[in-house]
């Protein structure tokens, strides 16, 4: 008898493996098959004829290149911002705890459950041309025009994404910080180490895996973000997902939409692979 016989289910292994079939079929029909059809539609045009020049034209178009550039810029900046904000808050909540710190951590955590476009909508009231900030500035300095306009640029998207995605960094970091040996920190401060030195030499190394895992998840989510960009609706800020939406729904140019979708999916899967490797390597 072969070695396979040592598996717990023994001879029945072949039958037992069939149990996974129903959810697998659902996944294949509802997810993999549509994905394959996107790939198919990327090279066929509306008349169902292979049309590679059209696909190339889409990839070379200014709109696509701009969207790709915007997506990368926004994702990287938002991820960096989320890491900075998440790390700062995690450090304070974990190591300079204040009354109600755990409640605050939970509150921030609920942001994970809220729709992302909520941030954009709120920003409209806060930083929009008729919003709180501009209103205050106009009133204080007797200006005739609203002075703050960042909301309708890439910055608006980046800041909204930082608000929405920093909880995704905060959560694993808080988990990692709870494992840091408090005795070590106390010993270091007794030896006269300054706080920033303790942070750099003891806390950050311990938090690195969580930061990398949280950061790469952030990168993936920001590359895929749609709601925030759609709600801001600024002409100059088009990302890949938004361009796909525009091409498919506004222009009914399905081939172009599918070509861009292929690029976006490939980018996301690449990031997903990185995230899995990082998460596994670092055990986070």
């Amino acid at each position: 008898m072969s070695d396979a016989a040592a598996s717990p289910r023994g001879v029945k292994v072949d039958l037992g493996a069939l149990w996974v079939a129903p959810p697998l079929i659902a996944l294949a029909v509802l997810f993999l098959y549509p994905l394959a059809l996107i790939a198919h539609a990327a090279v066929y045009d509306a008349t169902d004829v292979v049309n590679l020049p059209a696909a190339w034209a889409t990839l070379g178009s200014r709109a696509f290149v701009n969207a790709l550039f915007n997506t990368a810029e926004i994702a990287l900046a938002a991820t960096a911002g989320s890491l900075a904000l998440g790390l700062t808050l995690a450090l304070i909540i974990a190591f300079v705890p204040f009354p109600g710190a755990t409640f605050v951590a939970r509150l921030i955590d609920t942001f994970i459950a809220l729709p992302t476009f909520l941030a954009t909508l709120a920003f409209t009231f806060l930083y929009g041309s008729a919003g709180v900030l501009n209103g205050a500035l106009v009133q204080a300095f007797h200006l005739s025009d609203a002075p703050v306009h960042f909301l309708y640029s890439a910055w608006g998207v980046i800041l909204a994404e930082v608000t929405v995605y920093s909880p995704f960094v905060l959560r694993p970091l808080l988990a990692a910080f709870s494992q840091v040996d408090r005795g070590q920190i106390e010993a270091a401060s007794l030896l006269g180490a300054r706080p920033w030195r303790i942070v750099r030499q003891i806390i950050l190394p311990a938090a690195l895996p969580a930061a990398i895992a949280g950061g790469s998840l952030c990168l993936l989510l920001t590359v895929n973000e749609f709601g925030i960009v759609l709600f801001i609706g600024a002409k100059g800020v088009i990302t890949l997902p938004l361009l796909i939406y525009d091409k498919a729904i506004q222009e009914s140019d399905y081939q172009a939409a599918c070509v861009i979708a292929m690029v976006n999916v490939a980018l996301s899967l690449g990031l997903f692979g990185l995230y899995r490797v990082a998460a596994r390597r670092l055990g986070a």
Partner: protein, 380 residues
């Protein structure tokens, strides 16, 4: 098990005896196990008699758990058959084998109260409610946990959880009880009392066959009728507990089961049928129990530390002289280490007339019946 079987057995006498299943043998017939090509249990042939406690001991990774899991049906042997009560169960799923098991961390179902934990196996076999009540009550009584029926596992101490795990196993009246290091999660003191408790339990349930896996040789020596010693996935020795301890068949079992002094000797004259053999260790001529030893053969003389005494008397006919190298007083016992012709011998003495000093010459005595001869390469 059928419903009729429950009703049937329910009508038997009360008390611990009620928890008895029909006694069963367990037989390994050339059972081997491999994980992804790596053989971790070499063809094992071993029989556990009905109503006996067989302890399976061996160092970590020697395949004890694997052998036990093969009986339970969690690993499928790569070869060989397993029989329980004479019936071939190799192809039966675990739940159809009529066994019960207690594992190292007890695995009490955390979401069930003690009562429901103990009732689990009976529920699973669709026993009638009245019978379940009765059986669970008895099982809890046997392990002294009746007052705790309404508790959750997390509200119990380690020792109490252990008792509940045993009660849960006994409640189904298993043909065979499998125990995998059931005491190793307990601290030393509770462990000792639990060993005694299991011994008492077995005295009350003489028909229960128990396969007891442990790497603690003192548990095995206390509880087992017979001991099987595994090494690197192979059976190194098996025998009645006392025999195996007194006359280990090879160096590995001698050293694994308690402490042993192994002194290289040469057989002087072939066995003469008296059951005694004369051997030479350096200058000394010694007489030990043994048979069929050819003259001139190199052997290891095995004698346990507590069988060496420092005072000569009629029974202790053999004398070895050495030099005292170490002496440790440990309250009840004194441990001495003496050097004899380059080899070190350990002596455990309960009482010493005079305390010898290091470097002093020491004479040690032992009885021929307390020593045995082991072939030098028996375990290779």
């Amino acid at each position: 098990m059928t419903l009729a079987a429950f009703v049937d057995e329910a009508a038997t006498v009360s008390g611990a005896a009620e928890l008895r299943g029909a006694a069963s043998t367990v037989a390994f017939d050339r059972v081997s196990v491999a994980y992804r090509g790596a053989v971790v249990l070499k063809p094992l042939t071993l029989e556990v008699a009905a109503g006996e406690i067989l302890a399976m001991i061996g160092p970590s990774g020697s395949g004890k758990t694997t052998a036990l899991r093969a009986v339970a049906g969690f690993v499928r042997p790569a070869g060989g058959r397993i029989r329980i009560g004479g019936a071939d169960v190799t192809d039966l799923p675990p739940y159809a084998r009529g066994l019960a098991m207690v594992v190292q961390n007890y695995a009490l179902f955390p979401h069930m109260r003690v009562f429901d934990n103990v009732a689990f196996g009976l529920h699973a076999r669709h026993a009638p409610k009245a019978l379940i009540e009765e059986r669970v009550a008895h099982a809890l009584e046997v392990v002294g946990m009746s007052q705790y029926a309404r508790r959750l596992p997390r509200e119990l101490s380690g020792g109490q959880q252990q008792r509940v795990a045993i009660a849960r196993a006994l409640a189904v009246r298993p043909k065979v009880l499998l125990l995998d290091e059931p005491l190793s999660a307990l601290d030393a003191q509770i462990r000792r009392s639990m060993v005694e408790e299991i011994a008492r339990l077995h005295a009350e349930l003489p028909d229960l066959t128990i396969l007891y896996v442990t790497h603690d040789q003192s548990e095995a020596l206390t509880l087992a009728d017979r001991i099987a010693i595994l090494r690197d996935g192979a059976l190194s020795a098996v025998g009645r507990t006392g025999d195996l301890y007194r006359r280990p068949p090879n160096r590995f079992s001698a050293e694994f089961l308690g402490r042993a002094n192994l002194l290289p000797v040469v057989v002087e004259s072939a066995a003469d049928g008296s059951g005694l053999v004369a051997v030479r260790a350096g200058e000394e001529r010694l007489v030990v129990a043994g048979a069929d030893e050819p003259a001139g053969a190199a052997r290891l003389l095995c004698v346990r530390p507590q069988n060496l005494t420092l005072a000569p008397d009629a029974a202790h006919a053999n004398r070895i002289a050495g030099v005292l190298r170490e002496i440790h007083w440990q309250g009840e016992l004194t441990h001495l280490v003496a050097e004899v012709g380059g080899a070190l011998l350990r002596v455990v003495a309960t009482r010493l007339p005079t305390i010898p000093a290091r470097g002093e010459r020491l004479e040690m005595f032992f009885s021929p019946a307390d020593a045995s001869l082991i072939a030098e390469d028996a375990d290779v």
